[in-house]
Symmetry: C2
């Protein structure tokens, strides 16, 4: 877990507010809005859900991110409790209103404000409570700017939670030339999680100056191996966004593609995205264990990813992990479902360090089963599959499936 | 539920035995083997799992079904408790031995004996107990032939159960010319059920004479709209078979393709397969409700099937059905995941008879939600989606997802 006082990169401020939006996972009196604010114009890169059914905020953010000039992001408004998805023309009006009101309160350009909403689908935004919330957020920032501290990273991470059981945030430093830069991120996500891309909300802030094409490619690579390899329940949200703001407060010359500085930043970013993806999986609705599935020896990278995700998504595998049952007979058929080049009689399967199946057959002796069961009782479980038909590999990030997932999702009321 | 004394078609006999194979769902002292026996050579058609990881019995049955001449099936040996899958060369030797021993005991050709096994994966068949079981089965048949009655349809259906909570069987009559023919079927299946094809075991017997090509096409059509549209947990078994035996004891001229008789038989067969698929879904591990998903107005039949299956497979939809939550905001994003031509702002969603979303937006008023919740509290739930982009439709058969599914599958030990 991150330490209490997580630092922000230079030139960023946060604010939180309690608007009173009702929604799943939102306890009464909880903060349900957050604002990320950069004192300087920042470059922005974003990745968005590929679902065709997308929320009004995603529609607006995609348009803004596409048409934006290099340094054109100043603020991200986030609310939990209502996703403003499947809300039609009214939803589009509401999200544009949210951006416009925030811009007015903050005294910035409306086009520089992004909005992310997470929560119930198909219910109009309760603008009556959102409007004063937006005002409170802006006041929090302006007060912060005028001497007070603004909200903490943890408070912002808490305000964007829905069914999450803990706030998710982290911060790292990166050396750029001889300056020490900072990257800080918050994210949320617990259910309705099956990427392609990104199945949750994540906001990354850095004070490094990065050229926009370089920023975009760094984000795309980081997300491809982290959030896009994450699955909790195979269901895809309508609201997923990862937004990365680089405001250049560090004062470095903007990082270009293929530069040493960009490589360092990209590595830190990829590591942070991977760590946040494991945080989300660990907090998967009802989860008791983090499950990672590594597939090696696949023909292509795409096949390795597909195979790893299929195993990580199998209900029978996830319940076996929950029950600490080293039943590799549930793993092999998942690989055989189709679309993956494999030969059942070549496959090796490991649970943790224990080889449980060799060339598609059980490893002889009760000792392996006993040792594998021990591995499955750990809080972090690794299933490793070697297809032995190629050189590609991939890792999927998931969790076990428990009665609690069912309870949460059968009691979640519209 | 079928009546107690379910009739067999003419010329068929059944036997059951208690071999003592240990496996999931098998209570001590339960029958775990069954034999379907035709007194005359029967035409056989089969459909098999498309998983690449398939059990030794499936490998053997596919070979036999492909190379078989017109009337070449006499017996099907079935055991529960062990699927003889992922058992390599030893598994192939064991299944051939099972066929050979049964043939010897019954005094028939080894090539005319099919074997189906269901149960745990990756554990060698316990041939020490299976061998005497095969002898007992044959004795049951020969005694039956010599005046005793053999086993009942229900007893056979019980003997092939694993985690099933009740036996699944039914029988219908079909008029062929001026003769009354009979079709009787038994099947099993409760978990590890996601077709393509067929995710369970099903055996259909009829006394009608049918030409082999006609028999095959009738079975393929029936399975395509029933077992192949069935999903309990998205996991695909290694052992799935539907075997159809037509022994001609009715004395009719063998039915040809496009004949009136074949149409009647095909209709009865399709209806029976559909009914059995709903029996399996109703008995889905931990299920409390049958869930049917109808997708209409799709561009193509394949898209309609894909969409219906995706909704029927969504954990969030299945838990919402369990909790009687008319949350259509979980349904629409499933359709948007990809691969289905749709426009979110055209989609209508019905729960039972209640329209809950119209053109992708919530139907105004609390009355619809209240009425939809009532529909969801029924034992049989219908979700109907109209994409309004074409004329194709499909129906998927599924069930709700409950804590009990998790319990069963986390406690199921290897």
């Amino acid at each position: 877990m991150p330490v209490k006082k997580t630092p922000l990169p230079k030139g960023f401020k946060l604010a939180v507010a309690r608007a009173g939006i009702k929604g799943p996972g939102l306890a009464k009196g909880r903060n349900d809005m957050a604002l990320i604010y950069s004192e300087r114009d920042a470059a922005l890169a974003g990745t968005f859900t590929t679902n065709k059914v997308i929320g009004a905020p995603v529609v607006m953010n995609k348009q803004k991110a596409r048409s934006a000039s290099s340094n054109s992001a100043r603020a991200i408004v986030i609310n939990s409790g209502n996703s403003n998805s499947c809300t039609g023309a009214r939803g589009m009006r509401d999200v544009r209103r949210m951006a416009a009101l925030s811009a007015k309160h903050l005294g910035i350009d409306e086009d520089h404000v992004y909005v992310c909403s997470t929560g119930v689908i198909g219910v109009p935004m309760p603008m009556g409570v959102v409007r004063p919330g937006l005002k409170n957020l802006a006041e929090g920032i302006l007060e912060g700017a005028s001497g007070k501290s603004g909200a903490s990273v943890e408070a912002a991470a808490r305000a964007i939670m829905t069914t999450d059981s803990y706030p998710k945030f982290l911060s790292r430093t990166v050396k750029i030339g001889n300056r020490i830069a900072r990257v800080t991120a918050v994210c949320k996500g617990a259910g309705m999680i099956e990427p392609d891309m990104a199945t949750m909300l994540c906001f990354v802030m850095t004070d490094i100056a990065v050229e926009k094409p370089a920023l975009k490619s760094a984000l795309k690579a980081a997300v491809g191996d982290s959030f896009n390899m994450l699955t909790v329940d195979g269901d895809q949200s309508t609201s997923d966004c990862v937004l990365l703001m680089a405001n250049g407060a560090l004062g470095n010359a903007p990082l270009k593609k293929n530069s040493v500085g960009l490589k360092r930043f990209s590595k830190a970013l990829a590591g942070m995205c991977y760590e946040m993806a494991t945080m989300i999986a660990r907090d998967g609705e009802g989860a008791t264990k983090l499950l990672q599935v590594v597939v090696e020896g696949a023909r292509t990278g795409a096949q390795a990813k597909k195979a790893a995700k299929a195993v990580a998504n199998s209900l029978l595998v996830k319940t076996a992990v929950y029950g600490a049952d080293p039943n590799w007979g549930r793993i092999l058929p998942v690989l055989g479902r189709g679309g993956i080049f494999m030969d059942p009689l070549k496959v090796d399967i490991f649970i943790g360090k224990v080889k449980i199946a060799s060339n598609g057959l059980a490893v002889a002796g009760a000792a392996a089963v006993k040792r594998a069961r021990k591995e499955l009782k750990k809080k972090e479980v690794l299933i490793r599959v070697d297809l032995k038909v190629g050189k590609a590999s991939a890792r999927a990030i998931s969790c076990d499936l428990t009665e609690e997932y069912i309870r949460i999702n059968s009691e979640y009321t519209t």
